[in-house]
Symmetry: C2
Subunit: 242 residues, 2 copies
DNA sequence: CAGTGGTCTAGACCACATG
DNA sequence: ATGTGGTCTAGACCACTGT
């Protein structure tokens, strides 16, 4: 059943619509991170399509790391646990040895109004309220990263007054319903200024890797702007070109 | 803790075998880059599986960019034309403006025996014959990259005596049957030495982005080792985290 | 028009996890 | 035993491309 012929003109495949519906429900929190979605057949019956069409939509969501499927168990909304962050968003790896989740020490949290640069990066109006977080991160016991994180106040009300955990993306998802889905990083090599040099215990002028990231939530909004200055002695940034 | 790596499935899906067969035939040159594969039904009949199974295998090859499918036309072996190289393998982008394919000027071509470092990177025995290419690349008219390319002599017989085009991967594929399928890049920030500084017209000590790439052919062999030193004023390295 | 890939459906069976 | 996702098949129709 599920007549496919005489309905309205279909420019978009059916499974794309199913995918959008599922994404919307996840974004709205109908199914929370870590919870199971209904089975393929239940979703299919609910939406009036066949199970194969639901599977195709779920295959896409799996590829986008939005859900995790386990044979015999079910389909679960992906969580921003440390391991996922480590593999999807943290690309700075020790030259030899395992990836490790970096420790963080917050230097400062401040609220300010968006200037042109920040407004452009975050997709907000100039003058909008921002929160800026500065912190130092350690990999394997040595200070390796100095970073500044900038977010729109409106997305995370009260963030500036909170205690900030190591894994911010988990906080965004759990407390503010903002699920980071993807990011774009732009890298440059720069010379350490006196401030970075002091925090990292390096001579000023030492080459650092500057990573400029904008992160996007599953609803498409820009959810964070982050600039990280990283030492790369004993560490490197890993990028796979598939 | 530490979710252990999942072992290989006990039974290999049929479409995986179809995929391997197709990859093997492409690697052997049964179908040349740019040429069309047989239709899904022909492949299915040939291999004794259903068309849906062939489709699943071809979907994977499409995702890996090994083939290109065009509705109504057919399925084609992907070519290493400039555009594909530009988007898949060249990540250094002008800060504002279009991606452009860089011009190359070869500085030197030399043959030497593999030391420990090169042997480890290329997966050959120490002492094996190598070819080393050094060149300068220009993006938008200004010298931006100094790079050294190292390959095993055995894979590309006579390479050192050839004229070297801008797009080496196309040469590898067309003349030596080596199709680059993927690469891993490791990035560090380093200070320009006197040699790089001169070629790029910069002061020694200027921070440069060091990109250390190993490229893998579709048969899994390591096909190239390349170290590129890049200026990042007006340029940046773009990395999407999906 | 015929041939191609793209979508959608329906049903069967398998592998895995849980009770 | 039951329910889940994973694989495989078979067939139908649609959309696009070329002749």
């Amino acid at each position: 059943m599920a007549g496919d012929g005489e309905t309205a003109p279909r420019v978009r495949p059916l499974y794309r619509g199913v995918r959008e519906t599922l994404v919307r429900r996840i974004a709205e929190g109908v199914w929370q991170p870590g919870q199971a979605l209904p089975s393929e057949f239940e979703i299919a019956a609910d939406l009036g399509v066949s199970q194969g069409t639901v599977r195709k939509a779920l295959d896409e969501l799996t590829a986008e790391r939005l859900v995790v499927r386990r044979q015999g168990r079910g389909t679960y909304v992906a969580r921003h646990d440390d391991e996922r962050i480590l593999f999807q968003f943290f690309k700075l790896i020790p030259d030899s040895g395992e990836r490790r989740f970096p420790e963080s020490r917050v230097l400062a949290v401040a609220r300010r109004a968006a200037d042109e640069a920040a407004a452009g990066r975050l997709g907000v109006a100039a003058g909008a309220g921002l929160v800026e977080i500065e912190r130092v991160r350690c990999v394997g016991g040595t200070a390796a990263i100095v970073e500044r994180i900038t977010v729109a106040d409106a997305l995370y009300p009260g963030l500036a007054e909170r205690a900030l955990p190591n894994n911010l993306y988990e906080l965004y998802a759990a407390e503010f319903g903002v699920t980071i889905a993807a990011a774009t990083e732009r890298l440059k090599a720069v010379a350490a200024g006196p401030r970075e040099a002091e925090h990292l215990g390096l001579a000023p002028g030492t080459p650092l890797l500057a990573v400029d990231r904008t992160a996007t939530a599953i609803d498409g909004r820009i959810a964070e702007w982050r600039v990280s200055l990283c030492r790369t002695d004993g560490l490197h940034y890993l990028c796979e070109l598939p």
